[in-house]
């Protein structure tokens, strides 16, 4: 069982607060959608949840089987699709996925399965630098999900996808909810339906 709990979470850069006193709990099997205008701190909140940034105040805790884990310690449970978590452009799609599989202790045969799943099986030997933004996003999804994480953090997961891609994301999110938690930061109103809970940032700016 996994639960995400944020208590009075706040982040400031210099003297400018992006958000303050943010408190919410996301139980197992739930999707949380983070909404807000550009610059309201949606991606920053995702970075706080996976320990890539430290909060200025408050804390985020991942509770897993009676263990309380800081976001840094919880990275083993997480998969993330973030704008600053790119695949290696000079490697092929397959090599990128193999790298994550090797780091995460995932069997090599899962690489092919995931390439198939995200529709990149035909492009597996193509360098990522030759990929379109939609293909890159599909690869990032596979890289975030190959180890079947308990929590998935997604930043604008459908922004560059066609209708088929949106369908794929919907399937992956539904599957992830059965396994654990999904947190989605988005500007797209069509993505709001992915979450049972919402956090709206930028209201008090």
């Amino acid at each position: 069982m996994l639960t995400l709990q944020c208590v009075d979470l706040g982040k400031a850069f210099g003297r400018r607060w992006l958000f303050r006193r943010l408190s919410f709990t996301v139980p197992q099997g739930t999707g949380l959608v983070i909404l807000g205008p550009n610059g309201s701190g949606k991606t920053t909140l995702l970075r706080l949840l996976c320990g890539l940034l430290q909060p200025t105040e408050g804390q985020a805790i991942w509770r897993c089987n009676e263990l309380n884990l800081s976001p840094v310690k919880a990275r083993l449970l997480l998969g993330a699709v973030l704008p600053d978590c790119e695949p290696y452009e000079e490697l092929t799609a397959e090599e990128n996925l193999e790298l994550v599989a090797n780091l995460r202790g995932v069997p090599a045969e899962n690489v092919g399965e995931w390439l198939e799943r995200v529709g990149l099986a035909n492009a597996k030997n193509q360098l990522v630098r030759e990929f379109s933004s939609g293909m890159k996003l599909r690869l990032k999804l596979a890289m975030a999900l190959i180890h079947e994480p308990m929590a998935l953090l997604l930043d604008e997961p459908t922004a560059m996808l066609d209708e088929q891609g949106r369908q794929l994301v919907a399937e992956l999110i539904a599957e992830q909810k059965r396994r654990g938690i999904v947190v989605i930061a988005t500007n797209d109103e069509r993505d709001v339906g992915y979450g049972e809970q919402q956090v709206i940032l930028g209201k008090n700016r």
């Binding site: 089987n65 978590c85 290696y88």
Partner: protein
Amino acid sequence: MANNKSFWAKTDERKVQGAECRVREERRRIFRQSSWLIQVFAIAQKDFQSEWRTRHAVVTTLAFALISLTLISLSVGSLRSEPTLAAGLLWVILFFAAITALGRTFTKEVDARTDNLLRLNAQPSAVFVGKMAFNFALLLLVALIAIPLFITLMGLVVKNAMVFVFTVAVTLVAMAALGTILGAMLAKVQSRVALLAVAAFPLFFPALAAALQVTASIFGANPEVSAASLRALCAYAAASVLGGLLLFEEVW
């Protein structure tokens, strides 16, 4: 009755053990991660694959080393057989070649926004050792090409080849370890290449000073290779690797 009790007690114990085992299994599945060594290998392999495709670091570092050693060998004239000068020039070339190479390791990750991929998926110490292994291999390649050329162009005689090779290898280990941690610290700073050279010199100095003494002896300045310098060099290289391992998590 007592037997009955112990039977039930044993059954409960087994149930508890079974539950604990299931929890351990569940935790192992959830907190799945590769062994540290596999992570190190995966990171180094990724850097080699990447370098093989672009050849950026190899070309720039080798170009620097070859151009500078050609110019030096042309300009020193009759002083070329002076052992201390030759040893100094060799380590100047290798130092700046190392700075050119080491600066890129993390800068490239930050510029391509791939550094967080490693942060999220790998243990910090595995990232350090994987990157250090790649840096060491790169420096070794440069040394393997530049040093024989330098010795030939300068007309030097290597009196103790084994000790010379050992000295170069240990100094490169120290440089790779210190360069890796400095590269990680400075990766997000502006004008990092200039800063790396400035910050690296005081850190590299003890290793370079010891290597210089040993190399000068080997080139003929002193018939006896200083065992104390060699020991100091080995100790400094070991401390650099250990220090890097311990500190890397703080700077990563």
